[in-house]
């Protein structure tokens, strides 16, 4: 919500600005600054620097609209003093030592306002590492020429265009190499890096007064190999087919009815309905319907949900969290029982739990929040969609996502499908459009009554919580006994 909370960019591509040591931070100077924070009364201080080397390309109807290469660099100083946080974010790395005293004073000013009996902020202990971890891509995306990107994007365009009702095809490309350095007053000194690559397209079709659009994405954590591994011509053809189908689709019926969601929509459902309420910063703030429910049965026994940043290739994968904690798979629900919240060090301390690598910041200018990574429902016992539909007399099969939203406190959520079909007597009959589904987390998790065996990460996405981070979602094809549609 605040104007300065955006990135600062340097125009040089590659790592032209990166010093020969491979580090942006002068370790000796930063150590001195962190020591000085302790001298001024900080119980903990950290400096986290993030460099994004990135590029984006936009094409419309096979013609280049814009290409923007850039390098972003930001640094956040975070100081815990008297049980409260003071933070300073800047692009001016050299100014760091000048900010130590004032940021510590800021933290103390916040602490002085704490009411009697109110718990001061503390941090759960974590192992201290001095190391580097680099997830090297098979094909470093920073070395990709603009012509190569345009050729790949044009594959999608060729597949998606060539129909009288298609009025435009837009394609987009974005890639980034993320390099992070973290140093703390506890002696943590970690550097890590990885890449993300994404291609997306939108087909707009029109037939007389009816206008529809269909969006699709492919990519994840990794380099150019991810995009080269996608049959983009076929992806374009599929998007065209879906857009043309939407032109003929009817408005969805409204009401409570059985819903079957494809892997993509299942992923968004579990992200919104369960993932957000599991974020322990929201639980601690009194803004989650899952407060006090650890160890309780909140869903059908079929439901097991994991959040896993180590799932290589997923758009939400990362090697180390933004507090320097090693990542691991978190089992949020095991057979319907809530088993774990997503935590960072502060919430882990608050709840007396172990940190589990859930701290993520949008970039170097933001402080870490508790966030999801790659969130999935695990597979069930049904063999395929047909078997899930067998028992459905009248319901909806919904596919693809246009996004979703949740009110974590109330436990209510909404998500929208890109396209859908009516199910009548166990068969897909008519195509539908503008299907949205809503419900209450604690009710609908109990209504999941069928999952296919195979679970997979679906379309890469983005999650907003004041800060935007890439995420992966997915699961099997899922049946909900009763959901509010429309």
């Amino acid at each position: 919500m605040f104007l300065w909370a955006t990135m600062v960019i340097a125009a040089n591509q590659g790592e032209a600005h990166k010093p020969s040591s491979g580090r942006y931070l002068d370790q000796e100077k930063v150590r001195k600054a962190l020591d000085s924070a302790t001298t001024h009364g900080a119980s903990y201080a950290e400096v986290r620097l993030v460099s994004f080397t990135q590029s984006s390309v936009a094409m419309r109807d096979g013609i280049l609209e814009r290409a923007i290469p850039g390098q972003e660099l930001g640094l956040t100083l975070r100081i815990l003093a008297d049980g409260a946080w003071g933070v300073h974010s800047t692009t001016d790395i050299a100014s760091l030592p000048d900010q130590i005293e004032s940021t510590t004073r800021l933290a103390k000013a916040v602490a002085s306002r704490r009411a009697d009996g109110e718990k001061p902020i503390g941090l759960a202990e974590v192992p201290i590492f001095e190391d580097e971890q680099h997830w090297n891509s098979k094909l470093d995306v920073r070395n990709t020429e603009l012509d190569t990107k345009m050729d790949l994007m044009n594959d999608f365009y060729r597949g998606a265009s060539q129909h009288k009702h298609v009025v435009s095809v837009t394609t987009g490309w974005s890639d980034e190499h993320i390099h992070t350095e973290l140093m703390t007053s506890e002696g943590m000194d970690r550097t890590w890096s990885f890449q993300r690559s994404l291609i997306h397209g939108m087909v707009t079709a029109r037939d007389e007064g009816e206008v529809v659009s269909y969006r699709t994405r492919a990519g994840g954590q990794g380099g150019l190999e991810l995009i080269k591994g996608v049959d983009l011509l076929e992806l374009g053809e599929q998007a065209q087919t879906a857009a043309l189908r939407l032109l003929k689709a009817e408005r969805a019926p409204s009401g409570k009815m059985p819903l079957i969601a494809d892997q993509d929509l299942t992923g968004v459902y579990i992200h919104e309905a369960l993932g957000h309420p599991c974020e322990a910063d929201l639980v601690a703030a009194g803004d989650s319907c899952l407060d006090g429910k650890l160890g309780q049965k909140i869903g059908n026994e079929l439901v097991t949900v994991v959040d896993d940043p180590t799932l290589m290739g997923g758009y939400g994968a990362y090697p180390i969290d933004d507090e320097g904690v090693n990542t691991r798979e978190k089992v949020l629900i095991k057979n319907g029982v809530l088993t774990e919240y997503l935590n960072h060090r502060e919430t882990a301390h608050h709840f007396g739990l172990e940190p589990n690598g859930g701290a993520r910041a949008q970039d170097g200018l933001h402080h870490p929040l508790v966030r999801m990574s790659n969130t999935m429902i695990q597979g069930g016992t049904h063999s395929d969609l047909d078997e899930l539909m067998e028992d459905v007399e009248y319901g909806i099969y919904a596919c693809g996502t246009r996004g979703g939203q949740v009110d974590t406190g109330r436990g209510s959520f909404q998500f929208a499908a890109q396209e859908a079909w009516l199910i009548e007597d166990g068969e897909l009959t008519r195509p539908l459009k503008d299907v949205s589904v809503s419900g209450m987390t604690l009710e609908i998790l109990k209504n999941v009554d069928g999952l296919t065996k195979e679970a997979e990460l679906a379309t890469p996405g983005f999650c907003g919580k004041g800060q935007t981070v890439p995420v992966g979602d997915g699961g099997p094809v899922m049946r909900i006994r009763e959901a509010l549609v429309g």
């Binding site: 814009r66 923007i68 946080w85 003071g86 933290a107 916040v110 012509d147 029109r206 949205s436 429309g486």
Partner: protein
């Protein structure tokens, strides 16, 4: 004390001129440069207390080069990299298609727009924000003992900005902003209700703006939901400004973009000078609004901004253009002639200008009604103060299907109680062409994607379907 360091504006302009020099040394035909440098303070509030105080600064430059109708763009922070940035932009321009007659705008006299910078904000420091946050927390507690601010914060910022181009345009200025947002939650025996409300201004806000009381009010109002018959029904809906604006911002501004209209990507394509809304409704874009968040003397390409009518008495009368979009659509033969309407926007120095609205207002020649009069006219229907999933609305068709937990049932013009949850669906373009009645309290609503909107409460008598859970 001043949030903005001395000479910030001059330093920014001086650095922008260094980039201009790099353009000239590279023999670039035409160029434009935008620069920003911001400073600010912020506080986070969670679980009824201040949890973090922060501050910082950032800035950067965007440079666009134009050669024989092609363009390239690059952005940078450190002006020692200016030459490299210009060369990158040139390389991209040489791979881009040429647009006939695309040239950067030349200097035209622009009207000065006031109200952008408030010394009272520049003088604010972290201690002032801490006091304001205390006042907000106390106000919430006083309004309802059970109410807790579970999220939100307070922030102030000051920004120096500049724009210059090869054709003689040179503009610089300072702006300030002050914003607050509060998520208020009430836990009533394990049943939580909540409401998020916010306010922002170029001038200093009062310590406890009205939005704080509104947030508490809606968290209270939506407690103890009543039972209603389930099943979807067409019904009149009174949407508060806060409930209506997210849907409006996703659906309506894109429909008035020139590029989308001529490319047949707008539901109003082919309807220029035809009725597209109820005959009493008008939509204006006031780029010259004093103290606006998206208004100013010039747009992001340097073209003077203007106050323009887009829909007049229900008729679509104008569309929004930037210089480049206009030249491209004319060159590609989709429209005979088009010129910039001063509607180029850059979201930051990281992206080249595109087309967008500045300060949209919707008015009715039938006049406006008080909230009570709107309820009376509504008679039997619903009041909605917030929706989930507005971003999933379809801007090419106007169709939407969203959810609300901030909904009140109205019978015989009286509010009888809240619903736990309901779906709301329809087509906003069609709903706006039906019987629409506007309230008398116009409130500014921000939007990242489409500038600011100045909207009252809106009663939509037709075209919406409500589906109680």
């Amino acid at each position: 004390m001043n949030m903005l360091p001395e000479g910030a504006e001059e330093r920014l302009l001086s650095n922008a001129k260094l980039i201009a020099k790099a353009c000239e040394q590279s023999g670039v035909q035409q160029w434009d440069i935008v620069g920003f440098q911001s400073y600010g303070h912020e506080l986070d509030i969670e679980a009824g207390k201040i949890t973090m105080a922060g501050g910082g600064g950032e800035g950067g430059f965007g440079v666009r080069v134009v050669e024989d109708g092609t363009f390239g763009f690059a952005h940078l922070v450190d002006v020692s990299g200016a030459q490299r940035a210009v060369e990158q932009a040139l390389r991209i321009a040489r791979k881009s298609p040429s647009i006939d007659n695309f040239v950067l705008p030349s200097e035209q006299k622009a009207q000065r727009v006031g109200g952008m910078c408030d010394q009272n904000i520049l003088n604010l420091g972290p201690d002032d924000l801490l006091e304001q946050a205390d006042a907000i927390l106390n106000a919430v507690k006083s309004a309802d003992k059970r109410a807790i601010v579970t999220g939100g914060g307070v922030g102030v910022s000051a920004t120096a900005s500049c724009l210059l181009n090869s054709e003689g345009i040179l503009e610089s200025g300072l702006s300030t902003s002050h914003g607050i947002g509060v998520q208020v939650t009430i836990d009533n025996d394990g049943k939580m209700t909540s409401s998020y409300q916010g306010d922002s201004s170029r001038t200093r806000l009062v310590d406890v703006p009205d939005c704080v009381a509104h947030a508490v009010d809606w968290a209270v109002k939506t407690q103890n939901p009543i039972e209603v018959e389930s099943g979807a029904k067409d019904a009149p809906v009174l949407m508060t400004s806060e409930g209506f604006s997210p849907l409006f911002s996703v659906v309506v501004p894109p429909a008035m973009m020139g590029q989308k209209l001529v490319r047949k990507e707008s539901f109003w394509t082919g309807k220029m000078n035809q009725n597209v809304m109820s005959e009493d409704l008008s939509i204006h874009d006031n780029g010259l609004l004093e103290g606006g968040f998206s208004s100013g003397s010039r747009d992001s390409e340097g073209v003077p901004k203007r106050h323009q009518s887009l829909v007049e008495s229900g008729r679509l009368v104008n569309m929004l253009w930037s210089t480049r979009d206009a030249a491209q659509q004319v060159a590609e033969g989709r429209i005979e002639s088009a010129n910039s309407t001063g509607s180029a926007v850059s979201r930051s120095h990281q992206s080249p200008p595109s087309t967008g609205a500045s300060e949209l207002t919707m008015t009715s020649s039938r006049g406006s009604r008080s909230f009570e009069q709107l309820l009376e006219q509504l008679d039997d229907g619903y009041v909605i103060n917030g929706v989930m999933g507005a971003h999933t609305a379809n801007p090419t068709s106007g169709d939407f299907s969203v959810t609300t937990s901030s909904i009140l049932r109205v019978v015989d013009g009286e509010i009888v109680g809240p619903l736990k949850q309901a779906g709301l669906s329809g087509n906003l373009a069609k709903a706006l062409s039906g019987n629409v009645v506007l309230g008398d309290d116009v409130r500014r609503q921000g939007s990242y994607s489409s500038g600011s909107m100045h909207l009252p409460d809106v009663l939509l008598m037709e075209g919406l379907r409500v589906n109680p859970a």
